[in-house]
Amino acid sequence: MNNNELPLWEVFIQPKTGAQFQHCGSVHAADKEMALQNARDLYTRRQEGTCIWVVKAEHIISSNPDDSESFFDPADDKVYRYPTFFKVSKKAKGL
């Protein structure tokens, strides 16, 4: 087996101007230029993007799905963050 596998980069694509970048997969590349070119060749063969981000996979920090309940539960009991929590007269317009 070879020990010279090129580093792994995660690829994010902005499908059109103004849209959010979305993760779409990964590529192997020796450096950032090669990572961008490989990502372009692999993920935008049919004009799927207007811009690409590549990030070395080792630099991505993920929350742990096993802890997701306790990690996200601070948001559980805050229904007042939604507009439907508030009772206002139907006659009031523009709210």
């Binding site: 087996m1 090129l6 590349a29 450096d31 090669m34 799905p65």
Partner: protein, 312 residues
């Protein structure tokens, strides 16, 4: 392995939720996926060879451009799948090495030779057609990265099947020689295409777990039937004859009945005795070995620049 974890895992699957790379999963689920996804990835990449064989001899510039784009897509599909497979904790080097040592397989179909231009038509129509049936089903697979790769691949793959069918219909309506070539290609590719779906459900070592875990959503035989039903009508439309004397429409089941597959041939080819097994693997190993210095040089260059020695 705790039972609670297994219950949570199976619960998610039963609810139709996707499993993501960092979620807990049984070891056997992981190894099953690595085996299946890597086999799928290797098939895409090895599948570039039979078609690449005709790039320099494509009959027109249009046909040549299309074929190049198609072969490039196959490379892309292989890479989407390697990318999905690596999320399971195996490296690309290990995957490639498993292909080279024969531990990992690729689809049997690519061990058959492409003798005439009509074979390029037959591959697009039948081989990609069979692959699409399988891949459409796999869009619903339980492993998130695999499912996402399948969705992407299906979007791109339908052009492949149409270009193949276009070649076949042109030839089937062409000169007597072209018609003969088209029929001959169908005769040679039909049965291997049916074999692509794998052994009968009862003989398949992997079906049961794969169905419970929703890695596979439909069985080999169900998918094969769907493919036959579609293809018979497509063949009729362009005046080609499916090479199966037992083929007949069953009004009750509303499916085509078809003859028994030559499983001896299937196992023979899987175990290395097909027309092109050696050539396909040798080409891959050689290309990989010859590319070694490029990877080394690229890494050395990147390291040099990281150390602040920039020659730009």
């Amino acid at each position: 392995m705790s039972t609670t974890q297994e219950t949570t895992f199976q619960g998610k699957i039963d609810k139709g939720l996707k499993i993501e790379p960092r979620d807990w999963m049984p070891d056997k689920y992981r190894t099953h996926l690595i085996r299946q996804i890597s086999q799928h990835a290797h098939s895409e990449v090895i599948g570039m060879q039979p078609e690449g064989n005709w790039i320099t001899r494509a009959p027109s510039l249009r046909a040549k451009m299309v074929l190049i784009a198609k072969v490039q897509d196959e490379a892309g599909h292989g890479l989407y799948l390697y990318s999905a497979c690596e999320t399971l904790g195996i490296t690309r080097d290990e995957l490639i090495s498993q292909l080279h040592t024969g531990k990992a397989k690729y689809s049997n179909i690519f061990n058959y030779p492409t003798l005439t231009w009509a074979d390029i038509g037959a591959i697009g129509w039948l081989v990609d057609g069979a692959a699409i049936v399988n891949q459409q089903s796999l869009r619903g697979t339980s492993y998130g990265p695999y499912s996402r790769a399948m969705i992407r691949i299906c979007k791109e793959e339908s052009f492949h099947q149409r270009q193949g069918y276009e070649i076949m219909s042109k030839m089937a309506n062409g000169t007597p020689e072209q018609q003969e070539m088209a029929q001959d290609a169908l005769d040679r590719w039909w049965w291997p295409s049916l074999m692509m779906f794998g052994p009968h459900d009862l003989d398949s070592a992997h079906t049961s777990n794969a169905m419970n875990w929703k890695i596979k959503r439909e069985t080999n035989d169900e998918l094969r039937q769907l493919f036959v039903d579609r293809s018979v009508k497509q063949a009729d439309l362009i005046g080609l004859k499916i090479p199966d004397p037992d083929l007949k429409w069953n009004q009750e089941t509303r499916h085509y009945e078809f003859g028994e597959i030559d499983w001896d041939e299937f196992w023979k080819v899987i175990n290395g005795d097909g027309f092109c097994n050696k050539e396909r693997l040798n080409n891959h190993t050689t290309a990989h070995t010859k590319g070694q210095w490029v990877r080394e040089a690229a890494l050395a260059y990147a390291e040099k620049r990281n150390n602040g020695v920039n020659h730009e």
